[in-house]
């Protein structure tokens, strides 16, 4: 049994990339670390779209936090839902009423989808941030084809066969490209009353181009690859309403029973209890040591942190979260040694986005790739970074199998026990 001790207590909230990298970097330090998360697992978010599109099982891209960190003797993992930071008392309040005292705190609870004030859209257009989102989207996609097969009215059938993805960032592009592939190839021969390849996949982006963070030439290549895979791309498309029957875009009604949301994120609400002014997306502005103004003992990292560098915001991507997590550990260790760590500098390693089968774009600054080569590069990088040896091999094997057969092994529709809306 652990007893409180004189060793400083570092509490990390969130077991994503930032939290995990900070925890690992503190392995050999004279601190006691508690990692708190609401879930028992770390998720490899870059492959979450594969769970949503039935290419991978959920356990393929997740690993129990306890297992990842089991060997780290100065650390304990705690399943818990942190509701409030009581910064003055240096305590966290949990949803079950218990409290945890800290000496140093790192908040890394990430971001969730945001509907820009249209919270009613959430029900009709699920977003993709956590593993459960992936399973919900998978169920909706697969059920849409089943509903279309059963539909007797042609208009109803077409609405079930129309898929709208809102948001042309990396997640939207991945979902639209993979959906087009499923409709055209995976479901071939399987239905008798519909032709899944006639499904319409529409990617709606409000800005002038998809993948706005990439150079214009790669955005254009991404659009062409999407269209080649069978998806339609609408840029300058302003979504006005979303309901269960479809979307209204630029005044035009699109009948669709399956709308996916990849348009906006907002930081986790836990930041609000810090009592500092947040940015427009709800993120916490931090200093060059990633600590909060007035609270040098509170750090924020990952998607929850608003960090500017050379006048530009550091992007909300996995490498940035890992670098921030590792940096917080460095600052804590330096302080223990009575030293000062250098300021945080984000090193941009390049941008990657996958689009679908053999299609991706890669921007490494001087080197720009697209198409098959970019796709291989993307695949190699993602499998290399996937946590856990077993997962890597299994994922690679699933991928190879999908690649040759066009099949997706996780095409299982779960009916949640609470779901009373079983098909009749």
């Amino acid at each position: 049994m652990h007893q409180p001790s004189a060793v400083p207590h570092v509490v990390i909230v969130g077991g994503g990339f930032a939290g995990l990298w900070a925890a690992r970097a503190l392995a050999k330090s004279a601190v006691r670390v508690t990692l708190i998360d609401r879930r028992n697992h770390h998720v490899f978010q870059p492959l979450l779209y594969q769970v949503a599109t039935a290419g991978l099982s959920a356990p393929d891209i997740a690993a129990p936090l306890r297992h990842i960190l089991r060997g780290q003797r100065n650390l304990e993992v705690r399943l818990g839902n942190v509701r409030e930071v009581r910064a003055v008392e240096r305590r966290l309040l949990l949803a079950d009423g218990s409290e945890i005292a800290y000496d140093s705190l790192m908040l890394a609870t990430g971001a969730t989808h945001a509907y820009f004030g249209n919270d009613a859209w959430a029900e009709h257009a699920p977003g993709l941030k956590i593993l459960e989102d992936g399973l919900i989207i998978r169920r909706r996609l697969l059920m849409a084809f089943e509903r279309a097969e059963l539909a007797t009215d042609p208009a109803a059938r077409d609405a079930w066969l129309t898929f709208v993805v809102v948001g042309g960032g990396p997640t939207g592009v991945e979902l639209a490209g993979t959906l087009a592939e499923i409709a055209r190839h995976t479901l071939k021969q399987e239905f008798r009353h519909i032709d899944p390849s006639h499904a319409r996949v529409l990617l709606v982006e409000a800005g002038p181009r998809v993948l706005a963070a990439f150079p214009e030439s790669l955005s254009e290549k991404a659009r062409k690859q999407l269209e080649h895979l069978g998806a339609q791309v609408m840029t300058g498309g302003r979504v006005e309403t979303i309901d269960e029957n479809g979307v209204l875009v630029n005044g035009q009604r699109i009948a669709s029973r399956t709308v996916l949301w990849a348009a906006g994120v907002a930081a986790s609400p836990l930041a609000r209890s810090l009592g500092v002014e947040l940015d427009r997306a709800g993120r916490v502005p931090v200093g060059p040591d990633l600590s909060v103004a007035g609270h040098p003992e509170i750090f924020v990292a990952g998607d929850l942190a608003a960090v500017s560098q050379d006048g530009k915001p550091v992007p909300g991507v996995a490498p940035a979260a890992k670098q921030m997590g590792a940096h917080v550990a460095r600052v804590i260790k330096a302080r223990l040694a009575g030293q000062k760590a250098p300021d945080f500098r984000y090193r941009h390693m390049g941008s990657l986005a996958t689009i679908g089968r053999m299609a991706a774009v890669v921007d490494l600054g001087p080197v720009r790739l697209s198409g098959l080569l970019a796709w291989w590069f993307w695949l190699f990088i993602h499998i290399f970074f996937l946590i856990g040896f077993r997962n890597r091999v299994t994922v690679l094997m699933n991928w190879a199998w999908s690649y040759w057969t066009y099949q997706r092994h996780a095409r299982i529709i779960f009916t949640p026990p609470e779901d009373k809306h079983e098909i009749g």
Copy 2:
């Protein structure tokens, strides 16, 4: 689009072993086949306990019915929930109000768990029949260790670390053996406030021995193997009540927060609409051609059928279901040809039960195996029969990995979206 035609319409309800084997056997016949199931997938039930105990992902042991049967041009798969058989009109009534007419009907909707009139036990002691059951049990098992880690009261902690499995048949033995392995090996090093290897796993069987369908010598070997793995076996244990705090067995209270039910099954309620007298377990008595008395056009197969042979009931196991399914197809084809198929004969191929790591019992009549050799035999047979090439390879790889590392890759706790009982 399919149009009704003069070709006889065979409707199969249920995509388990019986339904699938019947559907396949009718591939080249001059019939139109409709396979209806509430789920989109076939489940390889013999490995379901591995999903419940986090050894395999749900998609590892399931495959979409549409995909399995995609090449069979005289067949369509329909997702639907059959509520009633209107035998006089030769129609099925579905939950959504639609109707399906048939010329021949095969019911193969299987069995579900039964609590012998104590339906209130269902909430506290989940059973294991469908994929969703496996995910519910997995969540409960993993959460029990998390709750124990957070418990401050020793009695509460012990109750979270006590697991009771009710029923000493193959499923109960598999669950108890694997649970003991998880507690002793898989979770080693991962907790800081509990020692998972101190968990108590108790298998309660009402009869005088576990695996009653096996020879007495193998029952005794199974008990020894269970005890060697760390589970306790209580025979002659009559369960009197089950509630959220534990079970009352033979007047003795056992405090346990995790009780699993593997004690009883009852046939699917669809059979009641047939209007024939059912047996005590709700199964439909059928003649030697597997048809229902008074309705030669209605067949029943698999766990839903009560078939006697040489004065003994045919067991509710996968090989029996496959043989019955294939036999129904044979009878239908013979009738089309104006002939009579021979009577159904169940060929017993032997009995297998796995207990846990390197432990199993095999009864092949003259040959009886137990321990490591039986386990290899069991593994080979099960992977050989697993449907779908990809699944087979992945499952074998997962198994090899689990075997060498004691790890279980699917240790992911999902929080169903409707679940408001998140941990605090």
